[in-house]
Symmetry: C2
């Protein structure tokens, strides 16, 4: 008699929302739940919310359940330990997998959220059938996931594919990771907002100040102002795009991918950020062969990429 098909509970620990979903063995989502992450309350509080969210969707899952969790990197993939993520101050070497396994009494796998998004896109989204792809997510930070020869590139301890922390300008602006001139420090939403702050501080005239209406200028405001023709905003987006192009060149020379998938909130500014980078690529690569057959496409799964990747961890 075949054993019953297992259910999978996927958890995505995002910057604002912590989401859980129950899926069947084909990856179809049957039930969802979302609560605020509130990472600033510390690891213990967030892990408790995670356990509650898992329990909330588990009821319909029968007896055999497996849990996949996506969390901010770097993560030791093999042990399931969250290591000093730059966007989670106070989280340091939290052994998430073993904590969850002991509280839930279920098998748990943990992955870097960007890695899992890459896996989700390859399995269910914009990378179906592609063996060599790079997924880049551009939002507050920049993350990445790399599929080489059909498999996630994890590295010795599962820390690989930190695409946001490749060095583009070695004496450039300080990055959240402590280094200078990372791709994240030059092309992320945070970088775009920093450039806007610098421009207004230097007294340049721009409609972004009025858009912000007394609040901080965000990447979204820069994008909006650029779309309406604001010169300063256009310059900032061109600068971020130029950095993104350099980052893509590095990744293309190192991985020779068939496809690059770009997701994350800031990639909604596709025409301002990604398209100009894509157009410059043939002039930047060391040989035409690197861009022949290479395409750059938007992510297809949106906010669900990480969840779908957490499901794929068990398929």
């Amino acid at each position: 008699m075949p054993s019953p098909q297992p259910f999978i509970i996927a958890v995505d620990m995002g910057g604002t929302q912590l989401r859980a979903a129950l899926a069947d063995a084909q990856g179809a989502i049957l039930k969802r739940c979302a609560v605020p992450t509130r990472a600033e309350e510390g690891a213990e509080a967030v892990i408790q919310r995670m356990v509650d969210a898992i329990s909330a969707v588990a009821a319909d899952g029968g007896s055999e359940i497996r849990v996949g969790v996506g969390a901010p990197g770097p993560i030791d993939h093999r042990s399931g330990t969250i290591l000093q993520p730059p966007h989670l101050p106070g989280w340091d070497a939290v052994p998430l997998r073993s904590i969850l396994e002991s509280r839930l009494d279920l098998p748990v796998r943990v992955g870097n959220d960007a890695n899992l998004a890459a896996l989700g896109e390859q399995r269910f989204g914009a990378g179906k059938g592609i063996d060599n792809l790079i997924y880049i997510t551009v939002s507050t930070g920049i993350g990445g996931g790399i599929i080489n020869d059909g498999k996630l590139v994890l590295g010795e301890r599962g820390l690989a594919a930190e695409a946001g922390h490749i060095v583009i300008e070695r004496d450039g602006p300080l990055c959240s990771c402590g280094q200078r001139g990372c791709l994240e420090a030059l092309a992320s939403g945070t970088a775009i907002a920093r450039m806007a702050r610098e421009a207004t501080a230097s007294g340049r005239e721009t409609s972004m100040v009025a858009f912000a209406a007394g609040k901080e200028i965000t990447a979204e405001i820069v994008t909006g102002a650029a779309r309406e023709g604001d010169e300063v905003a256009l310059e900032i987006m061109a600068e971020a795009s130029r950095a993104l192009a350099a980052g893509i060149v590095t990744l293309v020379h190192v991985f020779n991918p068939r496809r690059i998938i770009i997701g994350g909130g800031v990639s909604n500014a596709w025409d301002l950020l990604v398209k100009p980078a894509q157009e410059r690529l043939p002039d930047l690569v060391m040989a035409r062969a690197f861009v022949e057959g290479l395409d750059i496409v938007p992510a297809a799964l949106g906010d669900d990429a990480g969840l779908m990747g957490a499901i794929a961890l068990w398929l």
Copy 2:
């Protein structure tokens, strides 16, 4: 009755020498031959010399012979085609594998020389037993080969691992590949010689001028002068080392290797180039975990790395 053990002929097409070796099925070299490459004479002349060198060692090889060839990248690994290598002007899309197969009537595999050196070091040299390693060769140019999860990273068309052409300083000096600020443009022998030229042209006093005795200052001269305490030479080597550190940070964040193997003539300046980069690494990586357990070691096979890798293509 078991079929006779095949012999392997390995060919390494270097910048100055073209070398061929006959090896047994265990990778032991039985016979060698070397002729000048003279790449400037064009593809046809070099390929003829290659055929002659192979024939010279083939006589002792019995009936079943396989040929592995290492040549400068980028190379389409799957088709065995040499594509626009920056250091081989006039070679453009040369289908080396099919040309050799038809002239020799033997099965041929062709690989990027730096990829093959990585494979050679992993199989026979400084990377034995290591599943995640990066090989970097620093000489006139900078090449690389990457072993991820036990296998060469080749990418969609076999062009991957061009470690010399990761962008370190996006508006930096022009690289041989046409881009600006590649690792090769900042830390190779050519880059070190360029910095020396710039320093002397700007009128700085340095013993390198006397060392060169009217000729061009080479990376070797810079290294020698630095070892004798020449301030300008020391500054240049420190600058190259700083670029190498940034390149290593990028590669470490992307691949999370267990070991980095550094070879090539310029890496003989280990104390000036590699050691200072290695020492700065813990401060540069985004999380300690990237350097815990990571070692950086010299290549063990010297000039034979590529030959040994060409043998490993068939093992």
